[in-house]
């Protein structure tokens, strides 16, 4: 399998940070637990087969509610056609048993149905997909998460902690009620920001960042597009390395369709494929201005 970006003159052919990735697989996940952890936010714990490559922080899985891979042979497809991408929010492997954790916001057709999943149900998964966050980066490391964008940072934080790396977390949301409880957040240094002021400082993660005194941190961010643009700008202004995990509407999630284009820096009108050249991208590879203009 070739890891070459499947696209034109478009993108910097960035070798995925952390070396070559494995081949994704189609598999099914058995629901072990599915619970509300904050307003509109749910945590899904899945038993997954002990085979294939374990996901790296920043990678995602692509989900269909019907279990089984070649489903449904007889009846054909109805209802939502496309898979939905979710960052890996946690992964453990012990005694041949694997557990995959997703953290999802209930916002639409599929995620509302996900909220109704009960233990014992099976869903279809494809992964691990996409680029991971780099792990061997200089400290200080700063994780910046907005809203449901906290999901990949949970797994990233856990992984960094295991490797004995120090990091700080800046976590923002519109309302305090929509935030994960403090006990579920990784790392020791945590700054919170909410627009309703219910938890942490009133404002956005940018307000927190502006108040921080950090020498050339490595920033790893995930959240809404507008927040990422600001964080990228903040980092650029300070000469800080910045990695962002971007969202786009995905068709295939595997680099087959070109549906997930986001404007690439440098050579308009080129695009990056968020699903395969991303979702984790160096902030400077994105053309934030063009992206703001198309504003998905």
């Amino acid at each position: 399998m070739t890891r070459r970006p499947v696209q034109g003159r478009a993108a910097p052919d960035r070798a995925p940070a952390g070396g070559p990735l494995g081949e994704p697989a189609l598999f099914s996940g058995g629901v072990l637990r599915n619970q509300r952890v904050a307003a509109g936010l749910y945590e899904l714990l899945l038993a997954v087969p002990d085979a294939g490559d374990p996901p790296r922080p920043g990678q995602f899985v692509s989900l269909v509610l019907e279990s089984g891979v070649a489903q449904p042979e007889f009846e054909g497809l109805e209802g939502p056609l496309l898979r939905r991408p979710f960052s890996v929010a946690g992964f453990v492997q012990a005694r041949g048993r694997r557990r995959l954790k997703l953290l999802y916001a209930s916002v639409g057709r599929i995620t509302r149905r996900m909220a109704a999943l009960v233990p014992g149900a099976n869903i279809g998964l494809l992964g691990p997909l996409g680029t991971p966050f780099p792990l061997e980066v200089p400290e200080p490391i700063l994780l910046v998460g907005g809203g449901r964008g906290i999901a990949p940072l949970l797994y990233l934080g856990e992984t960094l902690a295991c490797r004995g790396r120090a990091f700080a977390l800046v976590y923002g949301a519109r309302r305090g009620a929509e935030m994960l409880p403090a006990g579920q957040l990784p790392g020791g240094s945590i700054w919170l920001a909410t627009e309703d002021g219910a938890r942490g400082r009133r404002g956005t993660v940018l307000d927190v960042l502006d108040g921080l005194r950090l020498e050339a941190p490595t920033v790893m961010a995930c959240g809404p597009h507008g927040m990422l643009a600001s964080v990228a700008g903040w980092s650029a202004a300070r000469g800080a390395a910045c990695w962002v995990s971007v969202e786009a509407v995905f068709g295939c999630g595997t680099g087959l369709c070109g549906g997930c284009a986001i404007p690439a820096a440098g050579k308009p009108p080129d695009f990056l494929w968020a699903c395969r050249q991303g979702p984790v991208l160096p902030a400077e590879s994105v053309d934030w201005e063009r992206w703001n203009a198309s504003d998905l």
Partner: protein, 308 residues
Amino acid sequence: MTCDLSTDLGPLGLANPVMNASGTFGYGDEWPRLCNTAVLGAIVTKTLTLEPRAGNPPPRLQETPSGLLNSIGLQNVGVTAFLAEHLSALRALRPPVIASVGGASAEEFAAVVERLEAGALEAYELNVSCPNVAQGGLSFGRSPGETARVVRGVRRVTQRPLFVKLTPNVTDIVAIGRAALDEGATGLTAVNTFLGMEIDLERSRPRFGRVGAGLSGPAIRPLALYRIWELARSLDCPLIGAGGIVTARDAAAFMMAGATAVQVGTATLRDPARPAALVTELATFAEARGLARIRDLVASLEGLRDVP
């Protein structure tokens, strides 16, 4: 009893009738293991143009009930990079390769094919039916004259099998198909996507920059099937069916209506292994019905040639 799945597209023999549809499977060499691409009847590349193309600005996709609107806009690496970067991987796979060809002018179509001749691919599919480009898409495929011009130009530079991919957004698809055959096309692929649109209600504006986009997926299956039937009962040439095909039953319906082979597009986005799985499922389907040869399914629909 096992069923002989082999079929012919004119001079081109296929081990089985299943291929991917252009544009939903990358260049065909992306995931040889995830899908087991080697078992397909043929592989169709993403549509290739002379120069690389960046495609349309995002958003490019929108789900609809049982359908998908896309406005990719022929993003592709261009014929040079295709030959340099994808051809050898494709060649390493067993199946015949059909290069999908696009262009903004009849001359560009011919130029792309001329360049591709060096790759000795098994056939070409001329995409005169993309709804997502300003030039060379629907403006060609909706006119018998323009379609003929494109085919004529390409026929001058190649002897290989040539399929013309038709748009269903016309009053008379048979007239367009006939124009292509008259200029030496080997057969026809039907259909490309249906023109549709979606609105972003929150912003009171069209979801896509070009407004119109192409609808694909199970929603269009009955519409696409009818086009194959229309073509089959009026024209005598190999037909490749596409539009909403997911299951063996879907594929069999297209074959009964006259398709010699079928393409799986949108379903591949959901399940990249679908085209390969369909090969197996089609064999099971045929065996369950006691069919010795899958080609006996082709145009087997009762009364297909009785003009009603």
